[in-house]
């Protein structure tokens, strides 16, 4: 689960939360959010085009603005496998990790093409393309632990020794 593969979608700097999930979609039920993923961005029909496992590659300050967790939830439920960016806005990054959506720091937007397939190793930070290897920042142990648990709530439950109620 620490290795992901998908098609690349390139975005610019400062992609804000209104681009990722517009305010008008905030009244929608969680199950409907996928349809609004990136609806306010330059790729307004992203939700229709995205395929499971696709990877967003962006510039600096991705996810700036609102604390709306619905933003990373919309991306994850639309099928986005992970996000790579030069930098992330703090709350967005934390929300993504909390819901189990991997986010990685790497300055690779200019070195990748829209639609090309890459595979990413979250543990080493290596981004494998058809022609070579690019380097991102490996995810920290703390972040990996939350991602592997499937998000913060699962991790808190584990820490509090709350069983799922099912016998294994």
């Amino acid at each position: 689960m620490d290795k992901l593969q998908g098609r690349v979608w390139i975005f610019d700097d400062n992609v804000d939360t209104d681009q990722i999930l517009p305010g008008y979609a905030m009244a929608e039920d969680a199950s409907k959010l996928a349809a609004f993923a990136m609806a306010g961005s330059k790729v307004a029909d992203f939700a229709k085009q995205v395929q499971a496992g696709d990877i967003i590659v962006a510039g600096k300050n991705f996810g700036c603005g609102s604390s709306r967790e619905q933003a990373p939830v919309a991306l994850k439920s639309a099928g986005v496998g992970m996000i790579i960016a030069n930098s992330f806005a703090r709350i967005f990054r934390r929300n993504s990790i909390n819901i189990g959506l991997p986010v990685m720091l790497a300055d690779v937007g200019a070195k990748l093409q829209n639609g090309e397939v890459v595979s990413v190793d979250l543990e080493t930070g290596e981004i494998h393309t058809a022609t070579g290897v690019l380097n991102g920042q490996p995810l920290s142990e703390n972040v990996l632990a939350t991602i592997r648990a499937g998000g913060l709530i699962n991790r808190v439950r584990q820490e509090l020794n709350i069983s799922s109620g099912r016998k294994s």
Binding site: N14, G23, A27, A30, G65, E69, R94, I99, I153, I162
Partner: protein, 420 residues
């Protein structure tokens, strides 16, 4: 080596003698907040943990974004928040008609205090830095977890020291201070960092100005934006809470990532042009920009002093025929005070719309959505593409005086152009 204000508050809440930037800590939370659009998302996460709330007196659930309900979906969200509040006997749930915009309401009610650690499922939770608290926005999952555990983890931020000197000229306000700062450092200029405001200029800033400045710390990417506690803070709190609180001051040898100096006396009325809060320009340098709408209100500028500024310009004049001016008092208390002062009558006589407290238009929810090509001067906090409606509409951020002057003249204008 000493500690900054932020480091001291976090150390005290983590049970550590000392913390350093970059350190991962688990800190006790004094107060938690969610609203009608983030609460319903936090609730199922909280319920997955399967524990009771850590303390029903230390959680505020405020329906303010799409309330009074704008449609069936928002009514369902408000209902989910209300039912959760009843089920868990949440003390600080405030119904429409008594409520206000959360970040105006909480300090007004005395529910947040200096030295506290406050997290809210709303990015503008950083507002409470104005009274010397460590306050920051989180997502629904973090809030849901904290509602169960009463704590959360933080990476201790490094601090930027913003040294303020001088005093604001007439018609220049806290909004001009924070927009000028964001214009200088950019929308990620304080990313992951604490903004600590200090210097002799602080004493010359009203609490309203401080709330506005801390409120938009997030627009520079900051984790929090904190002010020292001084006489004005103590005076403000005296009328609102008897609860004891701890005042933390930065050590003289505290370490800052960098220092930024702002002479308040040299600032002028500014606006942030579309589509980023960092696109800041003095109003005096702008070409003629005709507008269709003005919004005065929000968690940034919905306090009584803000409405007073607007009223001084609007009273006895008429809103420009091509402009819809929407004025939204931040809370019922602000609304009532504005009525007593005669501002509401002045706004209505001028041809403005006065609304019950709501976040509505700020995030493109309702009560002033823009059509394609429309322009709005707004005292809110974000001017991202599509923020207030159609992706081809434009939002210009400004303080209440500039917004009011623009409403009168039908173009972006300085107050002195109206008053001349």
């Amino acid at each position: 080596m000493g500690m900054t204000m932020t480091e001291k508050i976090l150390a005290a809440h983590a049970g550590c003698e000392k913390v350093e930037p970059g350190q991962l800590i688990r800190a006790k939370t004094d107060f938690l907040l969610a609203n009608d659009i983030t609460g319903p998302q936090a609730i199922p996460e909280f319920e997955k943990i399967g524990r009771p709330v850590f303390d029903p007196d230390k959680i505020a659930l405020i329906p303010d974004h799409f309330v009074p309900n704008k449609d069936i979906k928002s009514a369902e969200q408000a209902k989910a928040l209300r039912e959760f509040a009843r089920k868990h006997k949440i003390t600080h749930y405030v119904e429409a008609g008594r409520m206000g915009i959360e970040h105006v309401l909480l300090p007004e009610m005395g529910w947040v205090r200096p030295g506290e650690v406050i997290i809210g499922a709303d990015s503008h939770t950083c507002t409470y830095g104005a009274i010397g608290a460590f306050a920051t926005g989180v997502g629904g999952t973090d809030l849901g977890a904290a509602m169960a555990t009463g704590d959360t983890w933080f990476k201790v931020p490094s601090s930027i020291k913003v040294v303020l000197t001088g005093a604001l000229p007439e018609w220049v306000c806290g909004k001009d201070v924070i927009l000028s700062l964001i214009g200088k450092i950019g929308v990620d200029g304080a990313r992951y960092q604490a903004l600590e405001f200090t210097g002799p200029g602080v004493a010359n800033l009203s609490m309203t100005d401080r709330f506005t400045i801390s409120n938009m710390a997030i627009e520079a990417g900051a984790k929090n934006g904190i002010f020292p506690v001084d006489e004005k803070t103590v005076e403000y709190l005296k009328a609102r809470t008897n609860h004891p609180y701890t005042v933390y001051t930065a050590d003289a040898d505290a370490v800052y990532e960098r220092e930024i100096h702002i002479d308040l006396g040299k600032l002028s009325p500014v606006v942030a042009l579309p589509h980023l809060p960092e696109n800041v320009k003095p109003v005096a340098e702008l070409p003629e920009i005709k507008i269709d709408q003005v919004v005065i209100g929000s968690c940034t500028n919905g306090r009584i002093d803000d409405l007073e500024q607007a009223a001084k310009i609007i009273a006895g004049r008429k809103i420009h025929p091509d402009v819809r001016a929407i004025i939204i008092p931040g809370t019922q208390e602000v609304y009532m005070e504005a009525m007593k002062q005669g501002y509401i009558a002045q706004f209505i006589a001028a041809g403005a719309i006065v609304s019950t407290p709501t976040c509505g238009p700020c995030l493109g929810g309702y009560m002033g959505i823009l059509a394609a090509g429309e322009r709005c001067v707004s005292t809110t906090n974000r001017n991202f593409r599509g923020r207030m409606g159609h992706v081809d509409s434009e939002v210009y951020l400004a303080g209440p005086a500039v917004a009011a002057a623009s409403a009168i003249l039908g173009r972006i204008a300085e107050p002195k152009e109206v008053l001349a």
